[in-house]
Protein backbone atom coordinates (compact mmCIF):
# COMPACT_ATOMS: atom_id res chain seq x y z
CA UNK A 1 0.00 0.00 0.00
CA UNK A 2 1.10 3.52 -0.65
CA UNK A 3 0.39 5.69 2.38
CA UNK A 4 -0.10 9.26 1.48
CA UNK A 5 -2.11 11.57 3.64
CA UNK A 6 -4.56 11.24 6.51
CA UNK A 7 -6.82 13.73 4.76
CA UNK A 8 -7.61 11.67 1.72
CA UNK A 9 -10.43 13.92 0.57
CA UNK A 10 -7.91 16.61 -0.25
CA UNK A 11 -5.89 14.47 -2.66
CA UNK A 12 -6.33 14.59 -6.40
CA UNK A 13 -5.23 12.28 -9.16
CA UNK A 14 -3.88 14.11 -12.19
CA UNK A 15 -3.69 12.00 -15.29
CA UNK A 16 -1.29 12.96 -18.04
CA UNK A 17 -0.24 11.73 -21.42
CA UNK A 18 3.40 12.58 -21.96
CA UNK A 19 5.38 12.24 -25.13
CA UNK A 20 8.24 9.79 -24.77
CA UNK A 21 10.36 12.31 -26.66
CA UNK A 22 9.66 14.85 -23.94
CA UNK A 23 10.83 12.46 -21.27
CA UNK A 24 13.84 11.53 -23.36
CA UNK A 25 14.74 15.20 -23.67
CA UNK A 26 14.83 15.30 -19.88
CA UNK A 27 17.12 12.30 -19.74
CA UNK A 28 14.61 9.52 -19.10
CA UNK A 29 14.83 6.72 -21.58
CA UNK A 30 11.41 5.14 -21.93
CA UNK A 31 9.79 3.08 -24.62
CA UNK A 32 6.08 3.52 -24.86
CA UNK A 33 4.07 0.34 -24.46
CA UNK A 34 1.42 1.23 -27.05
CA UNK A 35 3.72 2.46 -29.77
CA UNK A 36 2.06 5.83 -30.18
CA UNK A 37 4.96 7.79 -28.79
CA UNK A 38 3.39 8.54 -25.42
CA UNK A 39 3.12 7.13 -21.93
CA UNK A 40 0.36 7.74 -19.42
CA UNK A 41 1.46 9.14 -16.12
CA UNK A 42 -0.63 9.65 -13.02
CA UNK A 43 0.26 11.89 -10.14
CA UNK A 44 -1.30 12.14 -6.73
CA UNK A 45 -1.33 15.80 -5.84
CA UNK A 46 -1.87 17.08 -2.31
CA UNK A 47 -3.90 20.10 -1.26
CA UNK A 48 -0.66 22.07 -1.19
CA UNK A 49 -0.27 21.55 -4.93
CA UNK A 50 2.74 19.27 -4.58
CA UNK A 51 2.92 15.80 -6.06
CA UNK A 52 2.92 12.99 -3.52
CA UNK A 53 3.55 10.11 -5.90
CA UNK A 54 4.00 9.54 -9.61
CA UNK A 55 3.26 6.36 -11.45
CA UNK A 56 3.60 5.20 -15.01
CA UNK A 57 1.30 2.57 -16.44
CA UNK A 58 -0.31 1.49 -13.23
CA UNK A 59 2.43 1.02 -10.69
CA UNK A 60 2.48 3.22 -7.62
CA UNK A 61 5.81 3.36 -5.85
CA UNK A 62 5.94 3.49 -2.07
Amino acid sequence: MAWLDSDETSLQIVRLRVAVATLAAQGYALRDPTGDGTVEIEMIVGPDGAARRVRVNGIWPE
Binding site: M1, V14, Y28, A29, R31, G35, W60, P61
Partner: protein
Protein backbone atom coordinates in the same frame (compact mmCIF):
# COMPACT_ATOMS: atom_id res chain seq x y z
CA UNK B 1 11.71 -6.63 -32.62
CA UNK B 2 10.74 -6.58 -29.06
CA UNK B 3 13.08 -5.34 -26.42
CA UNK B 4 13.09 -6.36 -22.79
CA UNK B 5 11.29 -4.39 -20.15
CA UNK B 6 13.05 -1.13 -19.58
CA UNK B 7 13.38 0.27 -16.13
CA UNK B 8 12.79 3.97 -15.92
CA UNK B 9 13.87 5.90 -12.93
CA UNK B 10 11.88 9.05 -12.26
CA UNK B 11 13.09 9.99 -8.82
CA UNK B 12 10.43 11.75 -6.82
CA UNK B 13 12.81 12.13 -3.96
CA UNK B 14 12.79 8.37 -3.68
CA UNK B 15 14.03 5.88 -6.20
CA UNK B 16 11.11 5.40 -8.51
CA UNK B 17 11.60 2.36 -10.65
CA UNK B 18 8.99 1.21 -13.06
CA UNK B 19 8.80 -1.24 -15.87
CA UNK B 20 7.50 -0.16 -19.23
CA UNK B 21 7.31 -2.71 -21.95
CA UNK B 22 9.08 -1.84 -25.13
CA UNK B 23 7.48 -2.11 -28.48
CA UNK B 24 8.58 -1.33 -31.97
CA UNK B 25 6.67 -0.60 -35.13
CA UNK B 26 4.83 2.40 -36.45
CA UNK B 27 2.86 4.58 -34.09
CA UNK B 28 -0.72 3.39 -33.81
CA UNK B 29 -2.12 6.57 -32.36
CA UNK B 30 -5.18 6.85 -30.21
CA UNK B 31 -6.47 10.07 -31.62
CA UNK B 32 -6.49 13.32 -29.82
CA UNK B 33 -9.35 12.64 -27.40
CA UNK B 34 -10.01 14.93 -24.47
CA UNK B 35 -7.12 16.51 -22.71
CA UNK B 36 -5.40 19.83 -22.33
CA UNK B 37 -2.75 20.09 -24.95
CA UNK B 38 0.80 20.96 -24.25
CA UNK B 39 2.78 22.82 -26.81
CA UNK B 40 4.52 26.00 -27.60
CA UNK B 41 7.93 26.85 -26.24
CA UNK B 42 9.42 25.02 -23.31
CA UNK B 43 8.31 21.50 -22.53
CA UNK B 44 5.84 20.26 -25.14
CA UNK B 45 4.02 16.97 -25.41
CA UNK B 46 2.17 16.92 -22.12
CA UNK B 47 -1.61 16.51 -22.21
CA UNK B 48 -3.65 16.71 -19.03
CA UNK B 49 -6.22 13.97 -19.49
CA UNK B 50 -8.14 14.50 -16.31
CA UNK B 51 -8.08 15.58 -12.70
CA UNK B 52 -10.24 13.94 -10.09
CA UNK B 53 -10.38 13.68 -6.32
CA UNK B 54 -9.52 10.39 -4.71
CA UNK B 55 -12.53 10.84 -2.46
CA UNK B 56 -14.99 13.70 -2.18
CA UNK B 57 -15.90 13.68 1.48
CA UNK B 58 -18.96 15.49 2.73
CA UNK B 59 -19.80 18.89 1.24
CA UNK B 60 -18.99 21.83 3.52
CA UNK B 61 -22.14 23.91 3.62
CA UNK B 62 -22.71 27.59 4.37
CA UNK B 63 -19.04 28.48 4.70
CA UNK B 64 -18.22 30.24 1.45
CA UNK B 65 -14.87 31.89 0.85
CA UNK B 66 -12.23 32.67 -1.71
CA UNK B 67 -8.49 32.89 -1.17
CA UNK B 68 -5.06 32.85 -2.72
CA UNK B 69 -2.49 30.24 -1.83
CA UNK B 70 1.28 30.07 -2.17
CA UNK B 71 3.24 26.85 -2.17
CA UNK B 72 6.99 26.92 -1.60
CA UNK B 73 8.91 23.73 -2.27
CA UNK B 74 12.46 23.47 -1.01
CA UNK B 75 14.78 20.55 -1.46
CA UNK B 76 18.36 20.42 -0.20
CA UNK B 77 20.61 18.12 -2.17
CA UNK B 78 23.39 16.01 -0.65
CA UNK B 79 26.04 18.44 -1.92
CA UNK B 80 24.35 21.35 -0.17
CA UNK B 81 22.74 22.70 -3.30
CA UNK B 82 19.09 23.69 -3.04
CA UNK B 83 16.11 23.52 -5.33
CA UNK B 84 13.48 26.14 -4.59
CA UNK B 85 10.21 26.51 -6.41
CA UNK B 86 7.14 28.62 -5.78
CA UNK B 87 3.67 28.24 -7.23
CA UNK B 88 0.46 30.12 -6.64
CA UNK B 89 -3.14 29.02 -6.73
CA UNK B 90 -6.59 30.41 -6.12
CA UNK B 91 -9.45 28.60 -4.50
CA UNK B 92 -13.08 29.26 -3.77
CA UNK B 93 -15.96 27.48 -2.12
CA UNK B 94 -19.64 28.36 -2.31
CA UNK B 95 -22.45 27.85 0.19
CA UNK B 96 -23.46 24.49 -1.20
CA UNK B 97 -19.94 23.13 -0.91
CA UNK B 98 -18.78 23.34 -4.49
CA UNK B 99 -15.12 24.24 -4.86
CA UNK B 100 -13.03 25.76 -7.60
CA UNK B 101 -9.26 25.60 -7.69
CA UNK B 102 -6.84 27.06 -10.16
CA UNK B 103 -3.31 25.81 -9.73
CA UNK B 104 -0.15 24.97 -11.59
CA UNK B 105 0.60 21.48 -12.79
CA UNK B 106 3.27 20.37 -10.31
CA UNK B 107 6.61 18.96 -11.38
CA UNK B 108 6.38 15.40 -12.67
CA UNK B 109 8.92 13.93 -10.33
CA UNK B 110 12.08 15.84 -11.22
CA UNK B 111 10.64 17.20 -14.45
CA UNK B 112 9.51 20.80 -14.15
CA UNK B 113 6.78 21.71 -16.60
CA UNK B 114 7.72 24.96 -18.28
CA UNK B 115 6.10 27.14 -19.27
CA UNK B 116 3.74 26.70 -16.35
CA UNK B 117 0.54 24.81 -17.09
CA UNK B 118 -2.54 25.86 -15.13
CA UNK B 119 -5.28 23.48 -14.10
CA UNK B 120 -8.76 24.83 -13.38
CA UNK B 121 -11.01 22.41 -11.58
CA UNK B 122 -14.57 22.55 -10.29
CA UNK B 123 -15.68 19.98 -7.77
CA UNK B 124 -19.24 19.28 -6.68
CA UNK B 125 -19.21 16.79 -3.79
CA UNK B 126 -22.99 16.62 -3.67
CA UNK B 127 -23.26 15.48 -7.28
CA UNK B 128 -19.91 13.67 -7.01
CA UNK B 129 -18.79 15.35 -10.21
CA UNK B 130 -15.46 16.95 -10.97
CA UNK B 131 -14.57 19.06 -14.00
CA UNK B 132 -11.25 20.06 -15.47
CA UNK B 133 -11.68 23.18 -17.58
CA UNK B 134 -9.64 23.72 -20.72
CA UNK B 135 -10.02 27.40 -21.66
CA UNK B 136 -8.00 27.00 -24.85
CA UNK B 137 -10.21 24.34 -26.40
CA UNK B 138 -13.31 25.40 -24.45
CA UNK B 139 -13.72 21.91 -23.12
CA UNK B 140 -14.71 20.57 -19.71
CA UNK B 141 -13.39 17.12 -18.89
CA UNK B 142 -15.84 15.47 -16.55
CA UNK B 143 -14.98 12.84 -13.96
CA UNK B 144 -17.28 11.06 -11.56
CA UNK B 145 -16.12 9.37 -8.40
CA UNK B 146 -17.88 6.29 -7.05
CA UNK B 147 -19.38 6.57 -3.58
CA UNK B 148 -17.45 3.73 -2.00
CA UNK B 149 -14.44 5.25 -0.29
CA UNK B 150 -11.15 3.49 -0.05
CA UNK B 151 -9.62 2.84 3.29
CA UNK B 152 -8.17 6.02 4.68
CA UNK B 153 -4.64 6.74 3.61
CA UNK B 154 -4.31 3.80 1.31
CA UNK B 155 -4.24 3.32 -2.41
CA UNK B 156 -4.12 0.07 -4.27
CA UNK B 157 -0.60 -0.96 -5.05
CA UNK B 158 1.17 -4.05 -6.19
CA UNK B 159 3.03 -6.47 -4.03
CA UNK B 160 4.56 -5.85 -0.58
CA UNK B 161 1.84 -7.78 1.32
CA UNK B 162 4.10 -8.93 4.14
CA UNK B 163 6.15 -5.81 4.75
CA UNK B 164 5.80 -3.83 7.96
CA UNK B 165 3.16 -1.16 7.75
CA UNK B 166 3.77 2.55 8.19
CA UNK B 167 2.60 4.07 11.46
CA UNK B 168 1.11 7.48 12.08
CA UNK B 169 1.38 9.45 15.31
CA UNK B 170 -0.21 12.82 15.90
CA UNK B 171 0.17 15.55 18.48
CA UNK B 172 -1.70 18.81 18.99
CA UNK B 173 0.17 22.08 18.64
CA UNK B 174 -2.43 24.43 20.12
CA UNK B 175 -3.96 27.38 18.34
CA UNK B 176 -2.61 30.52 16.73
CA UNK B 177 -3.99 33.20 14.42
CA UNK B 178 -3.22 32.74 10.75
CA UNK B 179 -4.59 34.92 7.96
CA UNK B 180 -7.16 36.39 10.30
CA UNK B 181 -8.48 33.06 11.52
CA UNK B 182 -7.82 31.00 14.62
CA UNK B 183 -6.14 27.83 13.51
CA UNK B 184 -5.62 24.58 15.38
CA UNK B 185 -2.32 22.89 14.73
CA UNK B 186 -1.45 19.22 14.57
CA UNK B 187 1.83 17.56 13.80
CA UNK B 188 1.48 14.19 12.20
CA UNK B 189 4.44 11.88 11.75
CA UNK B 190 4.23 9.06 9.28
CA UNK B 191 6.96 6.54 10.00
CA UNK B 192 7.81 4.27 7.12
CA UNK B 193 9.61 1.25 8.54
CA UNK B 194 13.06 0.23 7.43
CA UNK B 195 13.27 -2.18 4.51
CA UNK B 196 9.92 -1.07 3.17
CA UNK B 197 11.42 -0.23 -0.21
CA UNK B 198 15.10 -0.69 0.36
CA UNK B 199 15.48 2.06 2.94
CA UNK B 200 18.11 1.09 5.49
CA UNK B 201 16.50 3.07 8.30
CA UNK B 202 12.95 4.18 9.00
CA UNK B 203 11.79 7.35 7.28
CA UNK B 204 9.72 10.01 9.03
CA UNK B 205 7.41 12.18 6.98
CA UNK B 206 6.27 15.07 9.17
CA UNK B 207 3.25 17.19 8.35
CA UNK B 208 2.21 20.20 10.39
CA UNK B 209 -1.29 21.26 9.52
CA UNK B 210 -3.08 24.38 10.76
CA UNK B 211 -6.83 24.06 10.40
CA UNK B 212 -9.32 26.89 10.84
CA UNK B 213 -12.40 25.16 12.20
CA UNK B 214 -14.37 28.36 11.80
CA UNK B 215 -14.05 28.07 8.03
CA UNK B 216 -13.23 24.36 7.83
CA UNK B 217 -10.11 24.89 5.79
CA UNK B 218 -6.39 24.27 6.19
CA UNK B 219 -4.77 27.71 6.22
CA UNK B 220 -1.18 26.55 6.47
CA UNK B 221 0.73 23.30 6.20
CA UNK B 222 4.34 22.27 6.19
CA UNK B 223 5.26 18.82 4.97
CA UNK B 224 8.79 17.52 5.31
CA UNK B 225 9.72 14.31 3.59
CA UNK B 226 13.44 13.50 3.44
CA UNK B 227 12.85 12.12 -0.03
CA UNK B 228 11.13 15.21 -1.40
CA UNK B 229 12.16 18.13 0.78
CA UNK B 230 9.83 20.60 2.44
CA UNK B 231 6.57 21.96 1.07
CA UNK B 232 5.13 25.04 2.77
CA UNK B 233 1.56 25.95 1.86
CA UNK B 234 -0.10 29.14 3.02
CA UNK B 235 -3.45 30.78 2.40
CA UNK B 236 -3.68 34.53 1.94
CA UNK B 237 -6.35 37.09 1.14
CA UNK B 238 -9.20 35.06 2.57
CA UNK B 239 -12.52 36.69 1.70
CA UNK B 240 -15.56 35.28 3.48
CA UNK B 241 -18.15 36.21 0.90
CA UNK B 242 -20.16 34.16 -1.55
CA UNK B 243 -18.04 33.85 -4.71
CA UNK B 244 -19.67 34.44 -8.07
CA UNK B 245 -21.88 31.51 -9.02
CA UNK B 246 -20.34 31.38 -12.47
CA UNK B 247 -17.07 30.18 -10.95
CA UNK B 248 -18.70 26.84 -10.13
CA UNK B 249 -20.39 26.27 -13.45
CA UNK B 250 -19.03 24.99 -16.71
CA UNK B 251 -19.17 27.95 -19.10
CA UNK B 252 -22.07 27.55 -21.51
CA UNK B 253 -19.85 27.64 -24.59
CA UNK B 254 -17.77 24.69 -23.35
CA UNK B 255 -18.16 21.14 -24.58
CA UNK B 256 -18.38 18.58 -21.78
CA UNK B 257 -16.57 15.29 -22.41
CA UNK B 258 -16.04 12.35 -20.11
CA UNK B 259 -12.57 11.80 -18.80
CA UNK B 260 -10.93 8.89 -20.59
CA UNK B 261 -10.32 5.92 -18.34
CA UNK B 262 -6.75 5.01 -17.53
CA UNK B 263 -5.22 2.44 -19.79
CA UNK B 264 -4.28 -0.77 -18.01
CA UNK B 265 -0.71 -1.15 -16.97
CA UNK B 266 1.68 -3.72 -18.32
CA UNK B 267 1.13 -7.31 -17.26
CA UNK B 268 2.53 -8.11 -13.87
CA UNK B 269 5.76 -10.01 -13.91
CA UNK B 270 6.35 -12.28 -10.94
Amino acid sequence: MSNPILAASLALGLAFSIGVSAQSGPPRGRGPGPGMRGGGPGLPGIDILGVEPIEFGEPILDLPFSADAVTDMTQTLPDGNRIERRSTSTLARDSVGRTRREQALPPIGPIVVEPERRMITISDPTQRVHYLLDPVRKMAIKSTVPSSPRSRGELPSRGTPNLPRPEITSIRLGTRPIAGLQAEGTRETLTIPAARFGNVRAIDVVTERWYAADLKVVVESRRTDPRDGTVLYQLFNIVRLEPAASLFQVPPDYTVVDSPRPSPGPPRRN
